[in-house]
Symmetry: C2
Subunit: 434 residues, 2 copies
């Protein structure tokens, strides 16, 4: 069969990886795709010294590829919103398929992009946008297609997972480990995007839309970062049998969808609790299959290239079908009822609370009373020994309650004269089989 002709726009880290893996594994990829995948054109402002582009047409004009009638697929790897948006929309308008690793673009402009793709009968694929080399989009959409998905919970930001697992392994505090992550190139100079959960929220919005067949709702993701997690919390959690992970969680309930990114205590015996370093892992619970987990590298040139090329092979297959049969499958076409995203206040979880109390008789009773007044059962309450006169740390594990009730409890606890400073609250998820 005829080769698939590809233009790679953006030849940075990921673009270079895609270019090189396509060359290196060309014959195996052609064998699996049933036809060769050929890079016809590259658009880049800086030539990547890791790539031998001598036999390819290279320019710095990303739109030249769109204008080239020979090109079947545009691979958008320039990142950002504006130019990437224009490139993708023009490519669709020109009847070209698009493969992108740009999670921010998909999370923010995806509804509009997929609408345009549907109308044009082209495929927009984005496996590399979520969890790097892990084929999680394909697994949810195709591998688990028989299932009514109950929930998805994942470690979908490698930087954050590196920081939390290093804190746990070394007993170092957040800032120390962040500096190490920056030195290793795992974190940016301005780490906000990763450590405050924005990147994870982009990916979670995409996972949720795929799992539940709903429109992308990035603006409705509750997002909380890991920068306030203290080594003391990791130690306390460990003693109670939990690891602290930065999770993206989306769940379908009777009332609507949960959509939230926050630090989470999970039981140490869960496989997800044992995913350390920069790796990613996503758990998916489906009504037929039960719990599944997908693990691998969430970033890096070649893991991301692995996902981009898998999409290119899917596009190659889709090119053999009619637009009607192709689009429903590869884009977000068939959407279920538009389930509302629940406000955070309505979400129920269990909670870990850590507070500092004046060491006086009756403090524990007062704390317990505030919880019981709000109908919240306590699973464990631990008061640590300290030297006399010091503030005493109290650790509480509660049963499930709503975020609204917990907000009120924390407000009341913080107003008690026996409690010093703020209350640390971390949500707890069992991730069990339901």
């Amino acid at each position: 069969m005829k080769p698939v002709k590809i233009a790679i726009c953006g030849l940075g880290t990921v673009g270079g990886g895609v270019f090189n893996v396509l060359q290196r594994n060309a014959s195996e990829i052609a064998r699996r795709a049933g036809r060769p995948l050929v890079v016809e054109q590259v658009a880049t402002r800086h030539v990547n010294p890791d790539c031998d582009t001598s036999s390819v047409y290279v320019s710095d004009d990303i739109f030249a590829a769109v204008a080239n009638p020979e090109i079947d697929v545009i691979v958008e790897l320039i990142g950002g919103y504006e130019a990437a948006y224009d490139l993708v929309m023009q490519a669709i308008a020109a009847g070209k398929h698009v493969v992108t690793a740009n999670k921010a673009l998909i999370a923010v402009h995806g509804n509009e992009i997929f609408q345009a793709a549907r109308e044009a009968g082209v495929v927009v694929a984005f496996e590399a946008g979520v969890a790097g080399g892990i084929p999680i989009i394909k697994s949810i959409r195709e591998g688990l297609t028989a299932n009514r998905i109950h929930w998805v919970a994942g470690i979908i930001n490698g930087t954050g997972n590196f920081i939390l697992s290093s804190m746990s392994e070394k007993g170092s505090d957040f800032n120390e480990v962040l500096a190490e992550a920056q030195a290793l190139g795992y974190a940016e100079a301005d780490p906000t995007f990763d450590v405050e959960g924005i990147d994870a929220a982009h990916k979670l919005a995409i996972l949720s839309a795929i799992a539940f067949g709903v429109p992308l709702s990035f603006d409705k993701v509750y997002t909380e970062g890991i920068s306030r997690i203290e080594i003391e919390d990791i130690r306390q959690a460990d003693a109670l049998g939990f690891a602290i992970k930065h999770l993206g969680i989306t769940r379908r309930t009777e009332q609507g969808l949960e959509l939230r990114v926050h630090p989470t205590l999970i039981p140490k015996e869960r496989l997800l609790a044992n995913v350390n370093g920069v790796k990613n892992a996503v758990m998916v619970y489906g009504d037929a299959v039960g719990s599944t987990l997908f693990y691998g590298s969430g970033a890096g040139a070649e893991p991301t290239a692995s996902a981009v090329i898998a999409d290119l092979v899917d596009v190659a297959r889709a090119m053999e079908t009619t637009p009607e049969s192709r689009v429903p499958y590869l884009a977000f076409a068939h959407q279920a009822d538009d389930l509302p995203v629940l406000p955070m206040e309505e979400i129920e979880t269990a909670y870990y609370l850590r507070l500092l109390a004046v060491d006086r008789p009756g403090v524990l009773a007062k704390v317990a009373t505030v919880l019981s007044d709000h109908g919240i059962s306590i699973e464990a309450i631990i008061q640590k020994d300290t030297s006399e006169g010091e503030l005493v740390p109290i650790i509480l594990m509660t049963h499930r309650t709503t975020e609204a009730a917990m907000n009120e409890v924390i407000r009341q606890l913080e107003s008690l004269s026996d409690i010093a400073g703020g209350v640390m609250r971390i949500r707890v998820e069992s991730l069990d089989d339901q």
Copy 2:
């Protein structure tokens, strides 16, 4: 689009699961497939009391479905070799697509079946045959399609994993845990198929063929079971930082393919070492993506149904394409060079050895000399304390060497007058990133 018309042959545990999940999630499945999946016909000798078959044509003749021109896909869930083989071959000859969960049939007769399917332009899909609900076939073939696969290693028999992890958790011996597994329904009255690794060898043969694009070579799988593993080995491995898992391993080397099922010591920090109970998990190492892991339920009515239905949706997609573009992708069409399967003697691993020695000075030196005479480096050698006059257990961890060299070492060790009884040998794999 027109519905896909399905005949389910065999309405036992898995068939009942497929039937029920197709009914329960009909609208979501239709949404994802782009068309409804309708069970037109069921062939079963016993009506499954869990299934409401009142609106479906039911007979006890599996071949009636093949003769029915209305049927697009035959779902073969009768198991075994003879009748299943006839059913699948007749279905292919009649131009029908086939979905099967029958790993034994595929492992033993797959080369012939896929040859016939290729010629007839139909799809034979078998995701449910390996690792139950885990979409591992799709993940390797499509999700990781960009990669040159280096190796695949998996816990692909839930019964065996339940037994080994229960032995480890409870400190019970093999026979005790086997009896418990039988009482729970996790093991058959005759457990040979599971505990001696035959079932795992079927699945490994399929994984290897998919990963490396080679013909199925079930008859060349080296197969060793777990029945000789003693609780003492699990304890010693644990103290050394390892778990013992029953793995199927296939690896591409310069010389050829490794294809082997045996108990294996793996480092406890690997995610695979933390997969317990009846669950399955498969690690895949690709040159671009690095290490990945896929985890879930390897058996059971609905997890298996999840995989069967994913295949049905793939068949529905394939029906929209031409036979030429469909077959390469879904059957074993494009095969790489026929790499030879290496004889076990040529395979290199590290080894754990446990032997009982007479408590005399110089025994350790004699043992060490046998290894050094064969050029084998010792990583650790541990002699346990015992009461005087008793036999002393010696534990050895070696560096990598060939199975042939180790066979000779064991023969010589067993012939030493200071060594009592046989030498326990368990292979060791680091499963690290290469």
